[in-house]
């Protein structure tokens, strides 16, 4: 079987298209690359949706944690503590068995016990908590001068936040937020090893890498391929976040702009 046919058969295997049976013996390098690459679709799906939706909740949470009213502050603090203080792995297990229980309450909750919805919700809440802590830290370190300038212009309330505080927060937080996004993409590999079932062997990249490593009993081929895909993905994320960073800092002189670099000092 040529490599082209393999790609036709397995490129969208993780979504359920193409050949139904996974290869069982005589694995070729092409099959390794195609299957693991097919699984990457799920990693990208979880990562992109969780980052985009998590971003909005994270902003809300950061503002709530920064507020003077304890009615807003306390829930935000507890939410962030809950999701940052416990392992994502256990959160997945807990959520999955919780969703299974909910399923017996009403059929409305049915999708939650499958990975595409249930795991996405956990990842969304998780990344919202981590990002909120980053945004909160940035909100706290807005230079006093910026706020005084806003006051001098007569800006108050929403317009002060929208026009002065929020852009500065994003500028300060962006390098750390880039790291968070990268780690979130890494964390998506936990989905199918932590309770959520890979229905009809439709799994993510790690699921297929593990399948191949278990079948061939040779970890030296599938895992480096997985690593290759993830390093590629990391570079793509850095590129996109770098573009946004450039736009955020477009008013600054060239020499004062900070570049987004993969500097994982603060990690999840």
């Amino acid at each position: 079987m040529s490599c082209f046919e393999t790609i036709q058969d397995y490129a969208f295997r993780s979504l359920g298209y193409g050949e139904r049976l996974l290869p069982r013996s005589d694995f070729t390098l092409c099959e390794h690359f195609t299957l693991i690459g097919s699984g990457m679709i799920w990693n990208i799906y979880y990562g992109v949706l969780a980052v985009v939706t998590g971003f909005f909740l994270a902003n809300l949470l950061a503002v709530a944690k920064n507020s003077n009213s304890s009615w807003a502050r306390k829930p935000a603090e507890w939410f962030i503590f809950l999701f940052r203080g416990s392992p994502l792995f256990i959160q997945f297990f807990f959520a999955y068995s919780l969703f299974l229980n909910l399923k017996s309450v009403s059929s409305f909750f049915d999708p939650l016990s499958s990975a595409w919805a249930g795991a996405l919700i956990v990842l969304f809440l998780n990344t919202a908590a981590y990002s909120a802590e980053i945004f909160y830290g940035a909100l706290q370190s807005i230079p006093r001068g910026d706020i005084e300038a806003a006051d001098a212009y007569g800006l108050t309330g929403w317009s002060r936040f929208r026009k002065v505080m929020w852009p500065t927060t994003m500028r300060l937080a962006w390098p750390a937020y880039t790291n968070e996004a990268i780690f979130l993409f890494h964390a998506t590999t936990l989905v199918f090893v932590s309770g959520f079932p890979a229905w009809r062997q439709k799994g993510d990249a790690l699921y297929y890498a593990k399948y191949l490593a278990d079948k061939t009993f040779n970890p030296f081929v599938p895992y480096p391929i997985l690593a290759f895909y993830f390093i590629l993905l990391t570079l793509v994320i850095i590129f996109f976040f770098g573009l946004i960073n450039k736009r955020l800092n477009r008013h600054l002189p060239q020499s004062q702009r900070t570049k987004v670099k993969y500097k994982p000092n603060l990690m999840r």
């Binding site: 013996s25 503590f81 809950l82 203080g85 416990s86 392992p87 994502l88 792995f89 256990i90 959160q91 297990f93 807990f94 068995s97 919780l98 299974l100 229980n101 890494h186 964390a187 590999t189 936990l190 090893v193 790690l206 890498a209 593990k210 490593a213 079948k215 061939t216 009993f217 040779n218 970890p219 030296f220 895992y223 997985l226 690593a227 993830f230 390093i231 990391t234 993969y262 994982p264 000092n265 603060l266 990690m267 999840r268």
Partner: protein, 297 residues
């Protein structure tokens, strides 16, 4: 089945809720569950210092003037950090096992002529197996645990190397120049000037790393060690009266909730302790935190 702790546990079906619970929570399997919390702490006790050691080595390599060593250090940090850690855990557990068996095979059975990889099998001679096929159960468990510790050390060593490398760079350059002016050799400068001063810069990163390490311990489950996740799954699953004296429906949600609470408490306590250490260590240092302390007192 072990004998029960409370005398009234002989016939659980007749008991009231409170007594039933106290019997249920003291069965032999639950005792194993409680002991597995010790496994997690033991893992941390071994993995944290060895990761620090790996990290120190990695940071030293990344600073080395000798280019291949420099590349090795930087490559180690970059690759381990760029790839999901679970992939590394799953990889190293098999790779280390096969690597060790391969080495022992080469030493112990030099006149073995068949290939080691035959199709989908990895075949070494019997006396090269690790652990040996006839060894006791506890040796198997210890070997599995040791592999897990080494894997944690390699993965988190890269995280630590990154932190320590940054800390070494953060020590004010004037300190190094002064040491050179006094005629200290590079080695003396490193051990007497750089290393004692870098810890205050490394501490925030290392505290963060400790939290990450705590939150990575449930991954032991993936490495085949019978840890708290294993027991929570095992004990939480629904039990029928045919197989146990304590039948109950699916309680996994409750068991995982208990694990969540355990981890939340653990990270909270760590945070408080680490904050105290940071405050104490920044006392009298020429950093912002040290300066802030000087002004308040």
């Amino acid at each position: 089945m072990r004998s029960a702790i409370f005398s009234f546990c002989s016939d659980p079906a007749t008991l009231e809720t409170f007594q039933w619970m106290s019997c249920y929570l003291t069965t032999g399997k639950h005792m194993a569950f409680y002991v597995s919390f010790g496994t997690v702490l033991l893992l941390l006790a071994f993995a944290a210092p060895s990761a620090l050691l790996f990290g120190f080595g990695g940071a030293m390599a990344a600073r080395a003037r000798f280019l291949p060593l420099n590349w090795l250090g930087r490559g180690y940090i970059a690759i381990v950090r760029g790839v999901p850690d679970i992939a590394f855990f799953l990889f190293f557990v098999i790779a280390l096992d096969q690597g060790l068996e391969y080495l022992r095979h080469k030493v112990k059975c030099p006149d073995w002529d068949q290939p080691i990889r035959q199709g989908n099998d990895f075949i070494v001679c019997d006396i090269a197996k690790l652990p040996l096929g006839n060894s006791a159960q506890w040796i198997h468990e210890t070997y599995g645990f040791a592999l897990a510790v080494v894997t944690f050390a390699i993965v988190f060593g890269a995280f630590a190397a990154n932190v320590l490398y940054g800390a070494m760079q953060a020590v004010p350059h004037a300190q190094i120049e002064t040491a050179e002016a006094y005629g200290l050799t590079p080695r003396q400068t490193f051990w007497r000037i750089l290393v004692p001063q870098m810890w205050t810069y490394a501490l925030p990163g290392l505290s963060n790393l400790w939290m990450v390490l705590i939150k990575a311990t449930p991954l032991l489950f993936l490495l085949g060690v019978e840890d708290i996740v294993y027991w929570a799954k095992e004990l939480g699953g629904s039990k029928t009266a045919n197989f146990t004296a304590y039948p109950h429906p699916d309680w996994r949600t409750q068991y995982f909730l208990a694990l969540l609470v355990f981890y939340l408490a653990f990270t909270k306590v760590s945070e408080v302790v680490l904050n105290r250490i940071t405050t104490r260590l920044s006392h009298g240092q020429a950093t912002l935190a040290g300066e802030a302390q000087r002004k308040t007192t």
